[in-house]
Structure formats: C-alpha cells, structure tokens
Amino acid sequence: MTQAAPPMTGRQIPDRLVSPAKRALRSWEALLLLVGVAIFVANSFASPYFLDPWNLSDASFNFTEKALIAFAMAMLIIAGEIDLSVASIIALASTVMGAAMVAGLPVPALVALGLLTGLACGAFNGLLVAGFGLPSIVVTIGTMSLFRGISYILLGDGAFTGYPEGLAWFGQGYVWWVFSFELVLFAVMAVVFGLLLHRTNFGRMVYAIGNNATAARFSGIRVDRVRFILFLLTGLTSGIAAVCLTSRLGSTRPSIATGWELEVVTMVVLGGVSILGGSGSIPGVVIAALVMGLVTFGLGLLNVPGIVMSIIIGALLIGVIALPRLWKMVRK
C-alpha cells in the first residue's frame, strides 16, 4: 500500500549534534591509540634494537594470527555471543592439514582443507547455538575440549612434520620488503571486517542483536541466521590462522595454539568491545592488537620472561579497562 506523502508538520530534528570526527576524538580508540604511541616511544628509548624495521616486522608475527580471529570474535562478542573454541579449531584444522600432507595431497588442497575444517567447526558451534538455542559460552567450552580432543586422538604424542616447501610462504613469506604475507593479510582483513561491521546492513544487525536481541527479532531481523554466520566467521578465521601458524612452525602438535582463545578475547576487550555485547569497533581491535604486539616485543627485547609478560598483559587489560571508570568515580 502506498501512503500519501507525509506532511512536514513536525519540528525539525537535526541529524547529529556531535560530528563523527569529534566523537572519534573522544572515543576509547583514541585513548588506546595514545597508549600505543606512548608504549612505542618508551620502547624505542628502552632498547636500541626496537626501531629496526626487520625487528618490528618479525615482532608482528606474535599478533597477526590472533588478530585475524579477533576481528571475527569482536563481531561475535558485539552480537552478545562468544566463541572459546577458536584455539582448538586451529589445532584440529592443523591436524587435518597434517593428515592430508601424509596422504600426499598438494599444497592448495592442504590450505583448502584447513579452511574447510575451520568452517565446519564454526558451523557446528553455530548450529548448536543458533539452531538449538544453547548458550554459546557453554557450547564453545564443550567444543574447545572436543576439537582439541580429536587432535590428541589422531596425533597422540606425535607430530606432523615435513610440510612441503610451497606451504611455507603463508607463514614465512614476504610480499614486499619487510611486509610479510601475514602482516598484509592482517591489514586486508582489518579493512574487510571494518567494512563488514561498520558499513553494511549485516554489521548494523550485529549491533542491533547485541543491544537487544528480542527487539531485533521483533524488528524482522533473522537473529539466528546472523548468529550462525558469525560463528562461521570465527571458524573460518581460525582456519586461516591455522594455515598461517602451521606454515610458520612447519609442524603440527595437538598442543598447538594452546591458550590463544583467551589472548584473542583479551585483544577484543582491550580494543573497547563491551564483553556484554552491543558496542565496540574494528579500529579499536586493530589498535589493541598493535598495542599487545608492541608490549610483548618490547618486553622480549628487555629479556623479560614469558610468564612475567602474561602478568603485564593481564595488568594492562585490567588497568586500561578500570582507569576510565576510576577517573569517573574520582570526578564525582
């Protein structure tokens, strides 16, 4: 039915009172960027080796793979769900790639199987959450054990080694000068996910679901379909990470990428994504990935042991989250 052109009787409501640029300046992402710059400057004073392009490029490997997953995880957490099985998906995907290599399959097949395994795991999670309405935190804690458990059954104490030369490029190759394949992939995926979340209908639905899933459903949104796709995306990015990591390490053990799920979630939360869903951004996650990379690299140069590093990352997370709240409380 067509309605008559609405009469313009009501008062004029402005589109915006605060321009997007001004809003960005006051945002969490801006604050985090400042922290990142400060860490960068501090690092360059602390160690003479820090500012070397090749060293920085090397250092990027400690966050690129996790960040790929973090982009998809950010969208999932904004939609009010979570996927804790991502590290186990890496283990399973890598194991499948190893088995395919033993069977003599060529490199393109290995890559395809790695990605497909990721997708299949994501579909399994998505089916349980979106199809059967189970809580995602419970489902993915379950599949976290399940997926890695399958790897252990297939591999036991053993390992797949001796991957073909052709596979090495994904984790060790360089596109141009110091820019590794992984670093370029990180940049490309940041743009792709940034566009997906912030510039498409799908991204808008993700925010709507995260803020109020019931009202989103009452607005004609296919909530379960969106949720299912989001699980596919974390599965797929975990598959991509599995290809890169397997290529970089040149071997597969069932303990591969242990504990990564928490580092990925840390990256997402540090990036300003609300763990309760509904808000956050991809630029925030990009900056958080860089900050975490810089901290780890800087401390590495200073020969700080790994255990201490994880303490510092944890303290950074709590500190950055708590400071704005403390600041508000003090001002009141």
Binding site: G10, I13, D15, V18, R204, N212, T214, F218, S219
Partner: protein, 504 residues
C-alpha cells in the same frame, strides 16, 4: 452472614499512585472473621494494587491499615506476616526447584541443634498439614515445578495455614487450575472460613464469586464503587457497577471508508494459548481486540507476526495465502506489530533513533548490502517528523527518550516499511496523556489513508472510542464480536468474563 464486632482488617482511605497516575484513590475496605469478600473490578481497577498494600509489596501514599482494631504499619512482606496476613498470588510464587517442605518453610526454616536445617522435622510437619488440607497429596520429595497447578496451590495455602494466617488474600487463585481442582479449592475455602479465617478473593469469574463469596466489593478506575451482600445482588448489577456510565472522553475517530479484505485468518490454533481464531480485517478499518489480561490476545497477534508458530490454521494477506514462521516473513507480507512490552521488544536501546527506524527497512536504504547513512537519515526524519517525535537529534540513543516518544519511534519504524496491516498491542499503556492523544489521532489518520489496523486494548473507553468493530476474546477463544450499536461497555465486559444471556 452478619457482620458483628470489630473487623479483622480495615483499610481506611487508601491512596496509591504511580508516576502521577492514581492507581488506588481513597479506597476503604473491611473484612470480618469467617467471611469471604469478593473483590471485583476491571483490568486496572486497582484491585491488585490495593492488596499489595496489605501484603507489604507496596506502601500506600496515604490512608491507614487497621488490624483487629489497632492501627498498624505494613511496609514489607515480613510485617504482613507478623500480622498473620498471607497472600496467594495468581502466579503462585513458589521456589520451583525446591520441594513442598522447603517451600512451606521458606524463610522460616526449622533448625536443629547446631544451627543446621532440620529437614526431617520440616517434612514431618509438611506431611501433617497436607494430610489435613489435601489428603491426596503425595509428591513430597520432588521439586514443586513438577506439581500441577492445584498441587502447587495447596502448598501455598498450606504455608498460609501452617503459619496461622488469619487473613488470606487470594489473587485469581483459580487461574492455573483444572475444573476438578477448582472444586477442591472451593472446599478448602469453606474449611478455612469455618475456622474463622477472613479471605479476600479476587476473581474475574462471576460464577466463582457467586459460589464462594459472602460479600462483594467493586472497584473502578482506582475508586471504590460499592459493597454489599452477595445474596442481594445480580450479575447485571455488578457488571453495571464495573463499567460505570457511558464513555464521555472524546476520541478522534474519523469515519473511514472500509475497503477490501486485507487479512483473513481462519482456524488459527496453538497447543496452549489459543484455539479456533478466525476473523477478517479490511482496508481502512480499526479492529479492536478486547479481553481480560491473559485471554490470549497478544499471543494471537504474535503468531500473526511470526514470533510464535500456530499449530494450525491459515492466514491470507490480500489474495495470497501466507505461511508466516518468522518476523521477517511477516514484515515481507506487510504485517507489522507494535508490541506491548516496549522496553524488551520495542525499541533497541543503545542504538540511535535513526538506526531504530531503519532497522526493518535496511534493504531499501542500502545499496548492495552497504549502508547509505544519508538515505537512512532521510527516511528516519520523514517518519519521526510525521509522528511529531520530540528528540534532541536523530543520532540520540533511543533509550534516552520518554516512553511515549519511544513508542513513536517504534511506530515510525513500522510505517517506514509501508505495511498493509499494523497491529498495535496496548499502544497507549503507560504513556502520558499528550502522547496518548497523539497516538489515537495518528491511528485514525492511518486508517483514513487505507491502512488496516488491529488494536489490542484492555481499556474499554479506548476500544469503544477507536474501533469500527470489536472482537472479544476469552480463555484463548473468540467469545463475541460487536459492531455499531452493540458496542457497549456492558456487552464487552459480559463477553469477556463469560456471562451469557441478554444485558439487563
């Protein structure tokens, strides 16, 4: 029954208001030992509010409560208990995962030496009291969630009796009971009456009131209308008191040209919520759905909108048979729904106004799946302005708006989809007078433009003032349909509560 001596309970001149609206307005009620008083009144007449003041859930703004001839303060449920007042709510407030004994002693547990719970003693006591009240009760060691409505009810009543309640408030106690269980409840009420307990009995069902009450008291719009002996009153007289005089409020209903059928529903059924629902809605028509709370009106509407799935029946929109299983399919078919629960189901708080408006229309405002903000602002401005929305900017979080303005955003959202049928579920509930008038005005305008409107409402003046035709639902079925001169308050109420026969 003759009322002698001091009343057990006297509520004197009680007033309670919520946000400026008087829910109970200078009401007085008294209750003597050994009598059952039936409280009657429409949705929103103030019955439940008044008894919550006696059970300690609300505090009265003014007025006094006297128990046994003494003035008392009841400011929380604990105070109510100390005055031997027990309430049995319609929703049967029991802790689902605990068994009968644990529920009976909830908050007043028996403790053995050393401060540990004495489960054995509690169960023994429970068996004793249940043996007296409901000898057939056997399910002592299972969670009460596994019990039937009647069994749960008897646990709640046993709790009241065990702790020596003298005053029992029963708020629609038969709502969840089977026919047989209702008769068991009547017997139980007789027993309690014989023991000298005073019972306030709230019910919408006239046969119940006539069966067990000694005295009646009628409320309307928060005001006391009258009281008297059951023996001296007729159903017709009670209905007359419940609905009051004619509607004197002015409604902006414009005559609209009723056109072709837009929506035809036939044989809609759902295993638990509704049965045998069929009606036809025409272009330009406002079809009112009236009924008591819980009559299944919202459930039918949500089935039409794809929230719940009907188990049988068919739905035709225009000339096409439509199977609606998701809200997306409903929107596609041109059926939209403005829900009663704005906070949970209406506006997406946290998202700005313009994004709320465009949410179901993204396919139109975007290109190849990519957002076009300029188009979104344009669409949002067009429809929010038409509804005279009051907001600082379209970029403002919708959660910061008043209830009435949130409602306007939800309506704007649906109009932007250019629907054929708009279903409004209690569209003016809990919004201020000004917004209310704006919503009514707007409904009328929409119908005049040829949209088909369904309005679910529990307010008789609104239903009569706005509708071309009214369907009354009762217990999940269509009880009656009225149009023209037959649309009277009496007819609506009689159909809603289930009185057959002609109005007096």
């Amino acid at each position: 029954m003759v009322n002698k001596g001091t009343p057990l309970v006297e509520l004197k001149d009680i007033s309670i208001s919520f946000g400026g609206i008087k829910a109970v307005d200078h009401v007085s009620v008294d209750l003597y030992p050994g009598e059952v008083v039936g409280l009657l009144g429409h949705n929103g007449a103030g019955k439940s509010t008044l008894i919550k003041c006696l059970s300690g859930a609300y505090r009265a703004d003014s007025g006094e409560v006297w128990i046994n001839g003494e003035k008392v303060e009841i400011s929380n449920p604990r105070d109510a208990r100390s005055h031997n007042i027990e309430t049995i709510y319609q929703t049967l407030a029991l802790a689902d995962n605990l068994d009968a004994a644990s529920n009976l002693f909830l908050g007043r547990e028996l403790v053995g030496p050393g401060g540990f719970l004495d489960d054995a003693a509690m169960e023994a006591e429970t068996r004793k009291i249940m043996g007296r009240l409901n000898p057939n009760f056997r399910k002592f060691n299972v969670p009460v969630s596994a019990l039937s409505g009647g069994q749960r009810q008897s646990v709640a009543i046993a709790r009241a009796v065990y702790f020596n309640a003298k005053i029992l408030i029963m708020d629609e106690p038969t709502a969840a009971l089977s026919h047989k269980e209702i008769h068991e409840l009547y017997d139980l009420v007789e027993k309690l009456k014989a023991q000298g307990k005073a019972i306030l009995f709230i019910s919408h069902k006239f046969d119940e009131i006539f069966r067990i009450a000694d005295r009646w008291t009628v409320f309307r719009d928060g005001q006391f209308i009258g009281t008297g002996q059951m023996a001296d009153v007729t159903e017709a007289a009670l209905v007359q008191m419940m609905v009051g005089r004619a509607v004197d409020q002015i409604y902006p209903k414009r005559p609209a040209r009723i056109g072709r059928p837009v929506l035809t529903v036939s044989g809609y059924g759902h295993p638990t919520e509704f049965e045998d629902i069929g009606f036809t809605l025409h272009q330009g028509e406002i079809l009112g759905f009236y009924g008591l709370v819980g009559a299944g009106r919202s459930e039918v509407m949500q089935a039409l909108f794809g929230i719940t799935r009907p188990s049988k029946g068919a739905c035709r929109v225009g000339d096409e048979i439509r199977v609606i299983r998701t809200t997306a399919q409903a929107v596609e078919a041109g059926i939209v729904y403005v829900p009663e629960d704005r906070g949970k189901q209406g506006a997406v708080k946290g998202l700005p106004i313009f994004q709320n408006v465009t949410l179901p229309s993204l396919a139109r405002t975007s290109r190849a799946g990519f957002l076009r903000l300029a188009e979104e602002f344009k669409l949002a401005r067009e429809y929010t302005q038409r509804l005279d929305l009051r907001a600082a900017s379209l970029d403002q979080d919708v959660g910061l708006l008043s209830g009435g303005n949130q409602q306007k955003v939800v309506i704007a959202k649906w109009l932007a989809t250019k629907p054929r049928v708009i279903i409004l579920d209690e569209p003016t509930k809990g919004i201020d007078i000004g917004s209310k008038a704006a919503v009514h005005d707007f409904m009328s305008e929409l119908a005049a433009e040829g949209l088909a409107v369904i309005m679910v409402s529990s307010e008789i003046p609104e239903v009569l003032g706005m509708s071309d035709r009214v369907i009354v639902m009762r217990e999940g079925r269509i009880a009656a349909e009225f149009a023209g001169a037959a649309m009277t308050p009496e007819n609506l109420v009689r159909a809603a509560v289930g009185i057959t026969g002609e109005a007096a």
